[in-house]
């Protein structure tokens, strides 16, 4: 049976202005005791959520005070959205009512009216323009199981090290395997053999490339016809861009840092206006589409264009809710959610060091970004300006929950890699590599 797919669920719903404070209070209560273990969280103990890697709720206020505040839920889940929403209604109906009940048009019957609830949530779900996971299609249950298997192996090696060190590698592995098997039933470990998924992703990547080539060939005449105009338009717009100016370092006045660096990961929520007009909007969507295709087929194991620290990240466009406005005056907003390892400084540093081009291609289509050239040049190369800009568009996240508090992306990938090989016939070389990774 194929594994459930990694799924990005984003729900963005306008908040009833009079209920904003009640919503903030409910979120604060959740944040004070995330999994409900201290008995302080009567709203929504997050430990009960099934198939959830990371989840957050954020109140997105409009700094220009033109647009109503919205509540955004970012959930990184396994499998289809409908089944997940039904489960939410089943295990967390009261919590859902407390939170989304503060939003416009929430069903009167609440989450107990499962059909109305799922329909309302679906109506407010926004597609991720691009969605990345470091361990694509590895379900949460497997992340947990494989970590336990790896931990068991580590304990066994610790306890038996003196004896194991005298054995040839193949015998070492056999001994470890026998001991883990002996524990499996009592500790609830799943050791069933599982193939690697490289081939599946490689096939998907080849299909993507083939489709891109075919599509490119079909559209070639049209592309050639518009390319000069598009390039000229882009350069013209880039020279007229007005990057935000930061005469001095952006101060963290919302206490963002106060919420950082408690566990292995940190989170980031960014919101920024897309530059007005259809050209930038179209270009942004095209760039994100490209990133999404690559993230689904190529960047599936541990890095996104060289950035190794992201567990899950997504870009979501929230369109201006005022369709009557002329295009040039509508404010589409780009939301970015990231769940990453280590510190903000290292994460943003990795962006600049390894993926400046890619992120310039995305965010140079948004307001205030350091000046770009040819879509992906310059921009984030200006490290100081980029970090200032990034802090300036970051907003506080009221509730954030991580299901892998002590694992980096590399840890999860190692756990899965080690577990998958546990019950396989390996060559001598493969056994040495396996032992080295424990």
């Amino acid at each position: 049976m194929p594994p459930p797919r990694s799924t990005a669920l984003t729900v963005v719903a306008p908040i009833i202005p009079a209920r904003r404070d009640a919503l903030a209070a409910a979120l604060a209560e959740i944040a004070s005791d995330l999994d409900g273990s201290d008995g302080e969280n009567h709203v929504l103990p997050l430990g009960v959520l099934p198939r959830t890697h990371f989840i957050r709720w954020v109140i997105v206020d409009d700094r220009a005070r033109e647009l109503p505040p919205v509540l955004a839920m970012e959930a990184n889940i396994d499998g289809p959205v409908d089944a997940y929403l039904r489960d939410l209604a089943a295990v967390a109906a009261d919590g859902m009512d407390r939170l989304f009940g503060c939003c416009v048009g929430y069903p009167a019957g609440g989450a107990r009216d499962v059909l109305a609830f799922t329909r309302w949530m679906r109506r407010h779900a926004r597609r991720a323009e691009a969605f990345y996971c470091a361990y694509r299609d590895v379900p949460k249950a497997q992340v947990d199981n494989d970590r336990k298997v790896h931990d068991a192996i580590r304990e066994i090696v610790d306890a038996r090290r003196a004896e194991l060190a005298t054995l040839p590698p193949r015998r070492v592995m056999e001994r470890i395997r026998a001991e883990v098997r002996a524990r499996a039933a009592a500790d609830g470990l799943d050791l069933s053999p599982q193939p690697d998924d490289d081939d599946r992703f490689a096939r998907a990547f080849r299909r993507t490339v083939a489709a891109a080539v075919a599509g490119g060939l079909v559209a070639l005449p049209a592309l050639l016809a518009v390319a000069p105009l598009a390039a000229a338009t882009l350069r013209w717009k880039e020279t007229r861009d007005r990057p935000a100016v930061f005469p001095h370092p952006v101060r963290d006045r919302s206490g963002l840092q106060h919420d950082e660096d408690f566990i292995v990961q940190n989170q980031l929520t960014n919101v920024v206006d897309v530059k007005p007009g259809w050209f930038r909007y179209g270009l942004l969507r095209a760039v994100l589409y490209g990133i999404d295709r690559l993230a689904r087929t190529y960047y599936v194991h541990g890095h996104l264009g060289g950035i190794t620290s992201i567990h899950f990240a997504r870009w979501v466009i929230v369109p201006d809710p005022r369709p009557w406005r002329p295009l040039a005056r509508r404010r589409h907003r780009l939301l970015f959610f990231s769940n990453y390892d280590a510190s903000w400084e290292s994460y943003l540093g990795e962006f600049v060091d390894r993926a400046a081009g890619g992120l310039t291609a995305v965010w140079s289509n948004t307001e205030g970004f350091p000046r770009a050239r040819w879509l992906k040049e310059d921009g984030a190369d200006d490290e100081e300006a980029f970090k200032n800009w990034a802090r300036s568009i970051q907003i506080p996240t009221q509730v954030w929950w991580s299901g892998a508090r002590y694992s980096t992306t590399q840890n999860v990938i190692d756990d899965v890699w080690i577990r998958r090989r546990m019950e396989r016939d390996l060559s001598d070389q493969e056994i040495e590599a396996w032992l080295l990774r424990l």
């Binding site: 590698p169 930061f246 660096d261 510190s343 400084e345 060091d353 190369d381 490290e383 190692d414 040495e432």
Partner: protein
């Protein structure tokens, strides 16, 4: 709108305007005193700064150095106490203005439930730390004499805290290991480059010069006091000062106990070298994984090595020679940080600091350390001093992302057992994985040997800037 940076294109270091400490370790001045100060009165602080500025040592070409060296650095609170305008204070880095204590959790120090550091005595509780006077001399009497003279010159409005006195400078820190081997070579420095020394841009150390990104970082302006371009930052740098107590007895007792428990010819020296990543002599485990070839002094070229090599006999990407989680490998991962070796070196160059540390407390021979009583195993450690143009991208990054990170380069839930801090003992066992064939070794539940006793983030201004600060505080325009 920010003024254009002063002097783009001119990267010739103005040594005469740079405090000597930036380029000189004062190695011939074996004895140091660090005097924490509080500015109780602003005008008095200004008058004192103007006075001491004439004695501050500036960088310059070699020759016989004067017998005394004086440097002055000011904290974020100190800049506030001098009454600088809000625009100037806002333009200083946030970490400087917030202060080291507010960053304790990020640095892996022990904190209480309000994120306040625990176990700090510097500054003393309730006392503000505004400046640090750094004094260096050749002999203990000369140092004491210099200290007494400088204390005597303090006006009533500048209050000295108890002085912090260093032990005689040696090339070993208290655990017994050669230290300070991997200083970077800063473009524009006066000393020649050593073999294996990586080259970093002037702007990584000094404000006003091009940094590793090829940029001139924004710096604070202070108008009306005669600074060229009103640039307060130019030729200045930031100083990280930390007092780290080292439990030398506990350190060697631990490794001796572990060596006995492991048996099989494993020695305390061998184990401690895995934790540190080098032998006590300073020889890298990459060069000599099994025995220390030069127990006495670090041989030339001890710092000249890489972790990744196409030749499998020399390659150490898996840490079979020098454990990936060892202290020196975490603090400077060189070519093994990820990506290609060349990419890794480029990235690592953006996170380097210039170190100026000094030990304090009586030295103890490693073979006698394990016998130290708990009472005698106190009051000794390291004044950690590091300089750089960005505390956040330099010192804090190294401390947080490399030393304290529990997932550094694929390690599993381990911190640096030497300086990685982490949660209080007992909350999560500290461990060290030592890769080996056929299976790795792991030390589990390693106690803390290094305890932070205090510290500060400071601005080490250039000479002109120091005089300008004095003028401003004495009589703001």
């Amino acid at each position: 709108m920010a003024a254009a940076p002063v002097g783009p294109g001119s990267d010739v270091v103005e040594h005469a305007d740079v405090q000597a400490l930036a380029f000189h370790a004062h190695k011939h001045h074996l004895h140091a005193a660090f005097v924490p100060l509080t500015f109780a009165d602003r005008a008095a602080a200004g008058a004192w700064l103007a006075d001491v500025a004439s004695r501050v040592s500036r960088s310059g070409p070699g020759g016989r150095a004067p017998d005394e060296r004086v440097q002055v650095a000011i904290t974020g609170d100190g800049l506030r106490a001098l009454g600088l305008p809000p625009e100037t204070l806002d333009a200083m880095p946030q970490e400087l203005m917030d202060g080291m204590a507010s960053r304790a959790r990020l640095l892996g120090d022990v904190v209480d439930e309000l994120d306040r550091p625990v176990g700090w005595s510097l500054p003393a509780p309730g006392r503000a730390l505004h400046a640090l006077l750094l004094l260096y001399a050749r002999t203990p009497p000369a140092r004491d004499d210099l200290l007494e003279r400088e204390l005597g010159l303090l006006p009533a409005g500048v209050v000295a805290h108890p002085s912090e006195l260093s032990d005689a400078l040696r090339d070993r820190e208290h655990f017994g290991f050669a230290d300070g081997l991997s200083q970077p070579y800063v473009v524009g420095q006066l000393k020649d480059r050593l073999p294996g020394q990586d080259v970093i841009a002037t702007g990584e150390l000094l404000l006003g010069y091009r940094n590793a990104y090829g940029r001139y970082p924004e710096t604070a302006r202070l108008p009306g006091v005669g600074l060229p371009g009103d640039d307060l930052g130019r030729n200045g740098t930031f100083l990280v000062f930390r007092k780290l107590e080292q439990k030398v007895g506990a350190f060697w007792r631990y490794f001796e106990d572990q060596a006995v428990a492991l048996g099989g010819g494993v020695t305390a020296d061998w184990l401690a070298a895995r934790a540190m990543g080098r032998w006590r002599s300073g020889v890298s485990l990459v060069h000599a994984p099994d025995v220390d070839p030069a127990p006495a002094t670090p041989p030339p070229g001890a710092n000249d090595f890489r972790y990744v090599d196409d030749d499998p006999m020399k390659d150490d990407r898996h840490g079979l020679r020098c454990p990936i989680a060892s202290h020196v490998r975490r603090a400077n991962p060189r070519d093994a940080r990820g990506g290609t070796p060349a990419e890794s070196l480029e990235v690592v160059k953006r996170h380097r600091v210039v170190r100026r540390g000094r030990s304090y407390g009586p030295a103890v021979a490693p073979n006698e350390a394990a016998a130290l009583s708990p009472d005698a195993d106190a009051g000794r450690g390291l004044y950690f001093l590091a300089l750089g143009a960005s505390i956040a991208r330099g010192f804090e990054f190294i401390q947080q992302t490399w030393l304290t990170s529990v997932g550094f380069h694929g390690t599993h839930r381990e911190r640096d057992v030497i300086a990685g801090g982490g949660p209080p003992d007992g909350e999560e066992p500290r461990s060290l994985t030592i890769p080996a064939r056929p299976v790795r070794l792991r030390l589990h539940g390693v106690p803390r040997f290094v305890h932070t006793r205090g510290g500060a983030y400071l601005f080490l201004p250039g000479l002109r800037a120091l005089a300008a600060l004095a003028r401003w505080a004495a009589s703001p325009p």
